[in-house]
């Protein structure tokens, strides 16, 4: 009986051990399976990593712009200015530069057009003041008395052309035209007086010749001018005649001319007074004897 008990106990222990062995095998199978799964996932991780780490295209500025932005924030201690700076770098500056360039081109274009139109203008027209202004700038910017003589004569020629146009259109000759002609005639002589002796004489000769040419144009106009323009035209003609005569007279007495005009005192070099051919009118008495 006791042997039977021990035998059954031994069998039970054997079966238990066998069971444990079976469980161990199962555990081994399970652990092998888990290892394979982990291996598989590890392999997948590598593939996922390869896909997700693919290189990305570089930004257009190579990340320089965010760097500038960051430094601007650091310097200005505020985002507002830095944001403006960043926006300015990318958006506003090119637009602003383009706008400035376009405005510049437009300004130059309009300016050139205005200058061209002003050069053709005559007194009484809106752009005439621009023409006169340009003349003043040109004259004040001219270097050397010889250039100023040439420019002054050219402007006197402009006045002649203007008078021609005004007479043709029967528009009044403005006093400004007369004054401008008088100013240029004085300035031309003053510039000539600043030249060396030989050049001064040549210039005076040139002034006389050129003025004579202008008078050839102006004098016939006196017959064509409307009565309202006769006074203005007469003043213009007198101005040119006076210039011609002074230029001729200066060639005869260059020293006196230089002393007067180079010193800015043209009143010292005057034209000789016209001498009357006859004396003052005497009272006519009618004899009653005849």
């Amino acid at each position: 009986m006791r042997v039977g008990i021990w035998e059954s106990l031994r069998q039970w222990i054997d079966s238990l051990l066998e069971h444990i062995m079976t469980l161990g095998h199962l555990d081994l199978v399970i652990s092998t399976s888990k290892e394979a799964e982990l291996q598989s996932l590890k392999h997948l991780e590598g593939a996922v990593s390869r896909v997700l780490r693919a290189p990305v295209p570089r930004p257009p500025t190579g990340l320089a712009r965010p760097r500038q932005y960051l430094f601007a924030v650091n310097v200005y201690r505020t985002r507002v200015l830095a944001t403006e700076m960043r926006a300015g770098v990318r958006d506003r500056w090119p637009r602003l530069a383009l706008a400035i360039a376009l405005a510049g081109v437009a300004l130059v274009g309009v300016g050139a057009h205005v200058v061209m139109a002003a050069r053709q203008s005559i007194p009484g027209q809106p752009l005439y003041f621009v023409k006169r202004h340009i003349e003043r700038i040109q004259y004040s910017g001219a270097e050397g008395p010889d250039v100023r003589v040439a420019l002054g004569l050219a402007f006197l020629g402009e006045r002649v052309a203007e008078v021609q146009a005004l007479v043709a259109r029967e528009d009044p000759i403005e006093i400004d035209v007369v004054v401008a002609a008088q100013q240029y005639s004085v300035q031309v002589l003053q510039s000539a007086a600043q030249l060396p002796q030989s050049q001064m004489l040549t210039s005076l000769d040139y002034i006389a010749l050129q003025t004579a040419h202008y008078l050839e144009v102006l004098e016939p106009l006196e017959d064509m001018a409307a009565p309202s323009n006769s006074r203005g035209l007469a003043q213009i003609v007198a101005t040119y005649r006076r210039l011609e005569m002074l230029a001729c007279l200066a060639q005869q007495d260059p020293q006196a001319f230089r002393v007067a005009y180079a010193a800015g005192r043209p009143e010292l070099f005057l034209l000789p007074q016209a001498q009357p051919l006859l004396g003052p009118p005497r009272e006519v008495t009618i004899s009653t004897r005849y």
Partner: protein, 181 residues
């Protein structure tokens, strides 16, 4: 004291060299992360600037990281993206933009196959079909190379949650790949 801590300490004083060092060290990574989320180089560049400006502002306020500077920076980038999408009222359905395909490795785009028999293109499509959070965990773990605890800081989750998300994502991926092949 790590060099990052030194740089941050100097950056707090407005030291331009320290700020430049931090930027040069991390700008490419942050840009790459943002580009992978957005698929737009210009936008990613702009937001990279925003990330570093926020970093600078946080440094000035004395805010520091818990796990690592890198994780902290990615967290800022993540928040910048969240704000951007909130401001735009735009929700991206997919994590990876179509344009990223062009930047995949040569064998990934030219139908290169894995030893298991599937292509990288197929894998990319499978990743795109994952839930967004799982995509994000995969991107941060395997795309950006962050550790699980760093990803946990970026996403404000526990390390266990991140590991679970990662495991689930990989299992899902494997299942999808097996279905496809």
């Amino acid at each position: 004291m790590t060099s990052e801590r030194e740089w941050v300490a100097r950056a707090r004083q407005g030291d331009g060299d320290a700020i430049a060092s931090l930027y040069d060290e991390y700008a490419d990574r942050i840009y790459g992360y943002l580009y992978r989320r957005l698929g737009d180089a210009q936008l990613a560049e702009d937001l990279t600037g925003d990330v570093f400006v926020r970093m600078l502002e946080a440094i000035r306020k004395g805010q520091f990281w818990k796990v690592s500077f890198r994780a902290w920076l990615y967290r800022i980038a993540h928040n910048v993206l969240v704000d951007y999408f909130r401001g735009k009222r735009e929700q991206r359905e997919f994590l990876l933009d179509e344009r990223v395909v062009g930047a995949l490795p040569a064998d990934a785009t030219s139908g290169g196959t894995n030893p298991d028999g599937w292509t990288y293109e197929l894998l990319r499509e499978a990743i795109r079909e994952l839930p967004q959070l799982q995509q994000l965990v995969l991107l941060l773990r395997f795309g950006e190379g962050l550790k699980a605890r760093e990803v946990a800081e970026v996403l404000s989750k526990s390390v266990g949650a991140v590991e679970a998300l990662q495991h689930r994502a990989l299992v899902n991926l494997r299942k999808r790949m097996e279905e496809q092949t």
